[in-house]
């Protein structure tokens, strides 16, 4: 108890020195924690953007094959035929296989407005609710209506009920917006944020299509996603590779792994600053021991055990570590808040346990580094020869 008191008073009497030692720890904790917070927030942000497509298997025509089809008589363009779709549908059952048509088109959003070029998706109205969520309006059932993405609506001031003229001078007809699709972010299947979604019938009629650009298989049980992928590949690529099959969860896992590695790497760089801080603590503690050799000699001669002398110096290291780490933790939170606001434009990922834990990691690392760096000076103090220490001037 008295040694704890002596440790506290010694740090207080050398306030500037203690502050500078602590500053190193504060910087180390902030560096580690902030990097961790930022990394994890980015992972969560990307995860949020990709969540809607994390349960899909995407089937696209094999890139590089000029023509495909059964018996070599398929379409020469890179598409999936109705027959191929039926096969994919059968092997994917009971999961839902959604055929997707895609093109780009000129369109006009009102009288006097300029033409714009946008992406147009053609989807079967029955499949749309499984793939897309609306933030406003209703799903489109008829051929005179369409859905638009959230960014498209915002950028072009489109509302439910607005009319879009398709093609040059509206030659391909006018569609009424029945609903606005919720923002989906980056997606492996359909990126509808800046697109228009029409019915498959309208698409087929206008563009004279009877094949598909991709098939999205929504897998109900995520554990089966790899099996579905394998089943499709096995069925479709028996002789030649005619389709590419992508398991979005696998892709997401790879992305998260890459992000985790980056987070770990930048945290490790932060860790270097902590090691520098540790060396500074070691230096200051050694100085403290050297300055107090005589005091240690007196303590030992009047009955202080080695472990008691050791504890006194370890208490100093612990106080520096805990106070420095707590301050560092608080600053990390504020720093994380500021960086999240600036880089990710949101702080919602800061308040989740997997992000906040990085502050705990940083603080724990700070305290451990202080303790480790305090051990040698404390051990040295405890093992001084009392006679030599008493003679020390």
């Amino acid at each position: 108890m008295i040694f704890w008191e002596i440790a506290k008073r010694n740090l207080r009497i050398h306030l500037l020195r203690s502050f500078l030692a602590m500053l190193g720890i504060v910087i180390g904790v902030v560096a580690i924690s902030t990097m961790g917070i930022l990394g994890n927030s980015m992972v969560l942000s990307v995860s949020d953007s990709l969540r809607t497509v994390g349960d899909s298997v995407i089937v696209t025509p094999h890139a590089g094959s000029g023509s495909h089809g059964f018996g070599g008589g398929g379409s020469s363009s890179l598409t999936i035929t109705e027959q191929e779709f039926q096969q994919i549908k059968r092997v994917s059952a009971p999961n839902t296989a959604i055929p997707v048509l895609q093109t780009s088109e000129r369109m006009k959003l009102g009288v006097g407005s300029d033409d714009i070029v946008g992406i147009v998706y053609g989807l079967n109205p029955d499949d749309v609710p499984a793939l897309l969520k609306l933030q406003e309006g209703d799903y489109n059932r008829g051929n005179s209506g369409c859905l638009v993405g959230a960014t498209f609506a915002k950028d072009n001031n489109v509302k439910v009920g607005s009319r879009i003229s398709m093609g040059k001078d509206g030659e391909k007809g006018t569609l009424r917006v029945t609903g606005i699709i919720e923002e989906r972010g980056m997606a492996f299947d359909v990126s509808t944020d800046s697109a228009v979604v029409v019915t498959q019938d309208w698409f087929n009629t206008i563009y004279d299509r009877n094949d598909y650009d991709q098939i999205v298989v929504k897998v109900k049980n995520l554990d089966e996603i790899a099996d579905v992928k394998i089943a499709i590949e096995k069925q479709m690529n028996k002789r030649d590779t005619i389709v590419d099959v992508m398991d979005t969860r696998k892709v997401m896992e790879s992305i998260f792994e890459a992000f985790s590695s980056i987070t770990l790497f930048v945290s490790a760089i932060g860790g270097i600053s902590m090691i520098v801080a540790g060396v500074s603590i070691l230096n200051i503690m050694m100085m403290s021991v050297t300055e107090r050799i005589k005091e240690i000699g007196i303590m030992r001669s009047i009955g202080a055990q080695r472990r008691e002398v050791m504890s006194m110096f370890l208490y100093e290291a612990v106080i520096l570590g805990v106070v420095g780490s707590v301050i560092g933790g608080l600053l990390s939170f504020l720093g994380g808040y500021a960086i999240s606001s600036m880089i990710l434009q949101t702080t919602k990922y800061l308040f989740v346990p997997s992000t906040m834990i990085h502050i705990v990691y940083g603080m724990a690392f700070g305290i451990i580094v202080c303790l480790i760096c305090g051990i040698y000076p404390a051990w040295r103090a405890a093992n001084l020869n009392p006679i030599d220490a008493l003679r020390h001037e």
């Binding site: 108890m1 008295i2 002596i6 008073r9 010694n10 009955g303 055990q305 009392p386 006679i387």
Partner: protein
Amino acid sequence: MNDEAVMVFRDVVKVYPLPAGDVTALDGVSFQVNRGEFISVMGPSGSGKSTLLNMMGCLDMPTSGDIWISGTRIKDMSDTELTSLRRDRIGFIFQYFNLFPLLNIIENVTFPMMLKTGKGVDPERGKEVLRAVQLDDKLFTHTPTELSGGQQQRVAVARALINNPDILLCDEPTGNLDSKTGAGIMDLMTDLHRKGTTIIMVTHDPHIAEYSQRTIQIADGRIVS
């Protein structure tokens, strides 16, 4: 060794091995200190006084021979046991007072007691001992640097007495004080001796040695009288 002996040295030899050759600091020293005695140890520089004091304080071990303190043979004792012996049986008084500047007077005085009990400051016991060494009550919460040399040495005496030791070991207790203050400290020592405290005092000052009952003269590592 009789029941009255609080310290016994028997054929104690201390040799320091040095690169230039071994130096014999103590050469077959034997003596006994009985309970309640007031002894001074005198000798010129390099005679072995400091080595003898270190041995008496269990800070150093003899190369050969035996030492008993309060009936305990200190040879083969571990560092922890020796430290406990110092804490519980021996009170140290140094030439330069050696108080802890970070602690106030009460904390300084009760420091060995806190080591012994593992508890916090016992202000009542601290005050009791400080009054016994005639220190003004108003000074109890001051720090050592706020006290005069004489007052600091009284605090050091109080610290040495706090655990009721069997022996009070003094190393030139007046060496850093003016003669008047030194005389005051020696009066205090005499008073403590009268009350039954065993005192061993190392000094080079014959006037100070006159306060003791008996003097051990040491020269070249041997007791000469």
